[in-house]
């Protein structure tokens, strides 16, 4: 006769399973926090208090069935059958069925209280893990369950008789482990996301023996976010109107909400986006340079950003994978930075950000059926462009402000940091002198000691200065090398494509002629054809000018450059371009004075003119009145020649007059990261800095001066004149 016998287990099996499954106490605590996340809690508060730990969440709690099935039945399949949470559809974070063992791993006594919204009372489960001892049958050990008075929904776990000590470091490790579960910070207004996952926040507290108030020992805000250098935001309303701002900035002033449309960067009133609606960005930005952080903070922030840096995307409050995951460069930030199209640090590892889009109907942002990202809709494309444009613009602005603060060599006056160091050096030297004067008797006297100490101090200060200056020069040298490379590449490009361009022109002309003959009676076509021809001629004039500038690279030696000659070429090359932009363009110089400068490169003068024109052309697009540019070269004296570049654009704000020649300073939104190389060059904040470098090198000056009547802006360059040989 066949007998059917059940397995029986020794109660100590529970203890062994717990220890095998959950080796580390931090893992155990993290699992319990994750259980709160899986229960749709928005807050989990962990308090370690002497010999106990409590984990209090505001999740949906458990009813009796869930408690019994989920807690008392080993190897439950509940999390497999319900892979996402009920309320916020969170992917289950907790591992299958190890929560109960975690409580056992942490301490000898468990009290679990849980409340749901639809039950009149709560439930309390108590487990004394010490009962699960060797020699006792598992079936003989019971746990206690009682009904308890109602409370807000959630679960409160209290574990006493802790098996281990808890250090601050261990608590922090726990906190970092659960941080990935949460949307780092709220972004979209609450009313835009009523059904959205409102986020998840885990806080860890420790109550000291002498203090009754809990002491916050670890929190995302204090650990990471408080140390980031800036906060950049944008918002797109339900009509597609976008605005952006820098709401926090450790290197300079913040900015208020400013309208933006990266597709119309020069528009005085940027139009709304065509497809994008209801989107919000909040991104924390850090410059990963040890000198910008204190103590160990740098390492911590760098590590966190290395793992989690990037801009995550949430749709209707739910995380959309893979956007913002490691190795996902959906905004093209890494690619742009690696290509060095943008010089300021803008890689994903510099950012910790969230974009929230609200699209409950799924009409603008639609998920792939595989749930791997969104379908490439026009709205998503616009979102990408806007986001990368805002991030690059903000980073450029911040780099400009940081540059002024730290880069002594990048402006006419040494930076504030260098001034302070020099002052310290002078003070140290003075101390040394004073101490030396007071000395005179014995080398071992106190005053001699003071002299030596002062000299040591002086030496260390000098070393600091040298180190700082070296770093500054290295930075600038790297930028200049890059610019030189770009310049050479541009020159080669222009050289190599010149013939192709002309050949294209020839073919174009031929095609146009044939077409015009064939459609001789079609006035509308003939008008269009004439327009096309005149556009090509303008392009030809500009190309010829740029080729001429590029060919000047062959002249490596410095020699006096005729400002009059440069202005004549500039007028011929740029005049047609200005005409196309409906700009009244006048270039004036004395007809019988070459206006020769002290030795320079001819291409440098052309570069000054092109940079000025580029800025002016943008500035005059922002006005409704007459667009005018007036360029004048003149001789101020035997020793000095002057270039004045005036326009009737929207002007330079008084507070920016001193800043515009700084590295990376720009008031224009940057091109999106995925844009063409040509657009990349616009709004980089490099143009006027380059002008400043050129003029400085020629021992001249450049500044914003009062504009002549009828104009709003005037940039003036003063260059030493060539010494007369006659």
């Amino acid at each position: 006769m066949t007998e059917h016998l059940p397995f029986s287990a020794d109660a100590t099996l529970i203890d062994r399973i717990g220890r095998e499954l959950v080796a580390k106490q931090e893992t155990a605590l993290v699992e319990l926090v994750k259980n709160g996340y899986d229960a749709d809690a928005t807050e989990v508060k962990v308090t370690i208090n002497g010999n106990s730990v409590t984990i209090d969440d505001n999740g949906t709690g458990m009813n009796r069935t869930q408690l019994v099935e989920g807690f008392l039945r080993l190897a439950t399949s509940m999390k497999v059958e319900h892979p996402v949470s009920d309320r916020y559809r969170r992917p289950r974070a907790g591992k299958k069925g190890i929560g109960r063992f975690s409580t056992q791993r942490l301490g000898s006594y468990l009290k679990l209280q849980t409340w749901t919204n639809d039950a009149p009372s709560g439930l309390e489960l108590r487990v004394n893990w010490d009962k699960f001892a060797r020699g006792v049958k598992l079936d003989d050990v019971t746990v206690e369950v009682d009904e308890i008075p109602p409370r807000r929904e959630g679960t409160l776990i209290e574990i006493t008789g802790l098996r281990d000590e808890w250090s601050d470091q261990q608590i922090k490790r726990c906190w970092r482990a659960v941080r990935n579960l949460q949307q780092p910070f709220p972004v979209a207004p609450v009313d835009q996301r009523p059904t959205a996952d409102p986020g998840f926040e885990a806080s860890f507290y420790r109550t000291g023996e002498l203090f009754s108030d809990p002491l916050l020992v670890a929190d995302f805000q204090t650990e990471i976010l408080d140390h980031m250098h800036a906060v950049v935001e944008f918002r797109v309303d339900h009509e597609g109107q976008a605005q952006w701002r820098v709401s926090e900035n450790k290197f300079g002033a913040t900015t208020s909400w400013t309208a933006i449309n990266d597709e119309a960067p020069d528009a005085p009133s940027p139009p709304p986006y065509r497809y994008l609606r209801s989107a919000w960005l909040k991104a924390y930005y850090a410059i990963l340079d040890p000198i910008e952080f204190s103590g160990m903070t740098y390492t911590r922030v760098r590590e966190v950003l290395a793992d989690e840096g990037g801009i995550r995307l949430y749709r209707n409050g739910f995380r959309v994978i893979p956007y913002g995951e490691q190795d996902d460069d959906w905004l093209g930030l890494d690619a742009t930075y690696v290509r060095r199209n943008v010089l300021v640090p803008i890689a994903n590892r510099q950012w910790l950000g969230v974009i929230d889009v609200h699209d409950p109907e799924g009409v603008r942002f639609e998920e792939h059926t595989s749930r791997e990202g969104l379908i490439e809709t026009p709205a998503l494309r616009e979102l990408r462009s806007l986001a990368s444009s805002v991030l690059v613009t903000a980073a450029t602005m911040i780099a400009s402000q940081r540059g002024r603060k730290t880069r002594a060599g990048s402006s006419r006056a040494p930076g504030a940091g260098s001034d302070a160091l020099l002052r310290r050096l002078r003070e140290a030297t003075r101390s040394a002198h004073e101490a030396a004067r007071a000395d005179g008797e014995s080398l071992n006297s106190e005053t001699t000691g003071a002299v030596l100490a002062a000299l040591d101090q002086a030496e260390s200060v000098v070393k600091e200065i040298i180190a700082e200056q070296t770093k500054d020069y290295a930075d600038q040298s790297a930028i200049l090398q890059l610019l030189a490379t770009l310049g050479l590449t541009a020159a080669e490009f222009s050289h190599e494509t010149g013939m192709t361009f002309q050949a294209s022109g020839a073919v174009f002309d031929r095609v146009l002629r044939v077409a015009m003959e064939a459609k001789a009676g079609d006035n509308e076509f003939l008008t269009s054809a004439e327009t096309a021809r005149s556009m090509f001629e303008r392009l030809d004039a500009l190309t010829s000018y740029l080729n001429d500038v590029a060919s000047a690279r062959a002249a490596r030696e410095l020699h006096p450059v005729s400002l009059s000659g440069a202005l004549e070429k500039f007028k011929r090359g740029i005049g047609p371009v200005a005409e196309k932009a409906e700009i009244e363009f006048e270039v004036k110089y004395p007809p019988l004075d070459g206006l020769h400068s002290s030795p320079m490169h001819e291409a440098e003068v052309a570069s000054i003119l092109l940079n000025f024109y580029s800025n002016s052309a943008k500035a005059v697009k922002n006005i409704t009145g007459k667009r005018k540019i007036f360029v004048e070269g003149l001789r101020e004296s035997e020793e000095e020649i002057v270039l004045r570049f005036s326009d009737s654009g929207d002007g330079i704000a008084p507070q920016n007059r001193e800043k515009i020649f700084g590295l990376f300073f720009t008031t224009r939104p940057a091109a999106p990261a995925h844009s063409s190389g040509l657009d990349d060059a616009i709004g980089t904040g490099l143009g006027l800095w380059i002008v400043h470098q050129i003029v400085n090198r020629a021992k001249g000056e450049v500044e914003v001066v009062d504009a002549p009547s009828g104009f709003t802006t005037c940039l003036e360059v003063r260059l030493p004149a060539e010494k007369e040989t006659i």
Binding site: Q502, A506, V507, P591, G594
Partner: protein, 359 residues
């Protein structure tokens, strides 16, 4: 229909430019250097002329450049194994700077030099076509046993008045068709015996765009229009003829060159009515325009008249023949490019000082 070869090492570009240059009377056959050499060697093509690029190295298997190919063709023409035809150097400015620079030794190989960049506008393209047709005609018509008055269609007496013995003497010496034709082509291209209409109007001191009476002046001057070989395609006037006409018309003792613009136009108004005086460019001071600014023509392809009293003399690339006008640069333009070694530095310094003194 005249057929020219365009020798260039880049296939799509030579095709494109060839189609741009070609018109109803000029056929341009784009060819690689290898193809051109082969066609000339086996006489499968008898071109009216060649447009020769300088750089030919982008074509695989070709090691020569346009200069050496042109020299080889001229050598063959000397031997008589290749018929005489004109060669125009047709290259980009950057390539000219690279291959030629200031060395003028190769200049004589070519009848004219044209920058590729310059033909992007219709007037400059028309100028190239005009020269192509004129040169073709000259090369096709010139004979080795003929005095110069034949091809220029003047009587011997008139040549003695309007021409120049330095040119006719040289013409006599040359015993090859291509060298004789080259001399006549040079006469068309280089101001001296003949002048262009730009120079004609400058010497008259007239703003042609604002002078209705100018058309009548041209009619009155028609006896002095060049009617010789190439004259149908390139409008030229006998330079001395203008001066004779002036003396005949106005009977003045002062030669035309010595009169100011106001004096010239004052006289013209009396006979031709609506005449507007020329306004000299601010960069070209003086009021007795007689020459033109070589630098402005080179750089921008534009004509700017120069009063020699205020012009900066320039050294010609090749030894100057007696019949050629001296070269000048307008003072203002010279001051912008004063490092150009062709400029006469002493004259420039003198004029610069003169400007300062005048202030």
């Amino acid at each position: 229909m005249t057929t020219w070869l365009f020798v260039d090492d880049s296939s799509p570009e030579r095709e494109a430019l060839a189609s741009q240059i070609a018109d109803d009377v000029i056929d341009v056959k784009p060819m690689s250097a290898k193809e051109a050499r082969q066609a000339l060697t086996d006489a499968s093509l008898k071109p009216s002329g060649i447009l020769m690029d300088i750089e030919l190295g982008n074509e695989s298997g070709v090691v020569e450049d346009g200069l050496s190919l042109a020299a080889a063709i001229r050598a063959e023409q000397n031997k008589g194994s290749v018929p005489a035809f004109p060669i125009i150097r047709f290259s980009r400015k950057t390539k000219i700077a690279e291959y030629v620079g200031t060395d003028s030794s190769s200049d004589a190989l070519f009848d004219w030099a044209c920058d590729k960049e310059s033909i992007s506008t219709e007037p400059k393209l028309a100028k190239l076509r005009g020269y192509m047709l004129a040169f073709s005609e000259i090369y096709a018509s010139v004979k080795t046993a003929e005095a110069i008055d034949g091809p220029v269609k003047l009587s011997t007496v008139n040549w003695d008045i309007l021409g120049h013995s330095a040119l006719s003497d040289r013409f006599k010496i040359f015993d090859r068709v291509h060298s004789r034709a080259g001399l006549l082509a040079k006469m068309l291209v280089t101001p001296g015996i003949l002048i262009s209409e730009d120079l004609l109007s400058a010497r008259l001191g007239i703003d042609v765009n604002k002078s209705a009476g100018y058309a009548d002046i041209l009619v009155a001057l028609s006896d002095y229009r060049y009617q010789g070989l190439g004259g149908d395609h390139v409008v030229r006037w006998w330079a001395r003829g203008l001066e004779y006409w002036w003396e005949e018309s106005f009977g003045q003792d002062d030669p035309l060159a010595g009169l100011s613009i106001a004096e010239r136009t004052g006289a013209l108004k009396s006979k031709f009515g609506d005449i507007t005086p020329l306004v000299q460019d601010e960069k070209s001071p003086g009021d007795r325009p007689w020459r033109y600014c070589t630098l402005t023509l080179e750089k921008y392809g534009e004509f700017m008249s120069v009063d020699p009293e205020w012009g900066v003399p320039m050294i010609a690339r090749l030894a100057h023949d007696g019949w050629e006008d001296p070269l000048y640069a307008a003072l203002g333009v010279a001051l912008q490019t004063k490092d150009d070694p062709r400029l006469n530095g002493d004259a420039l310094a003198f004029l610069q000082k003169r400007v300062k003194t005048a202030k």
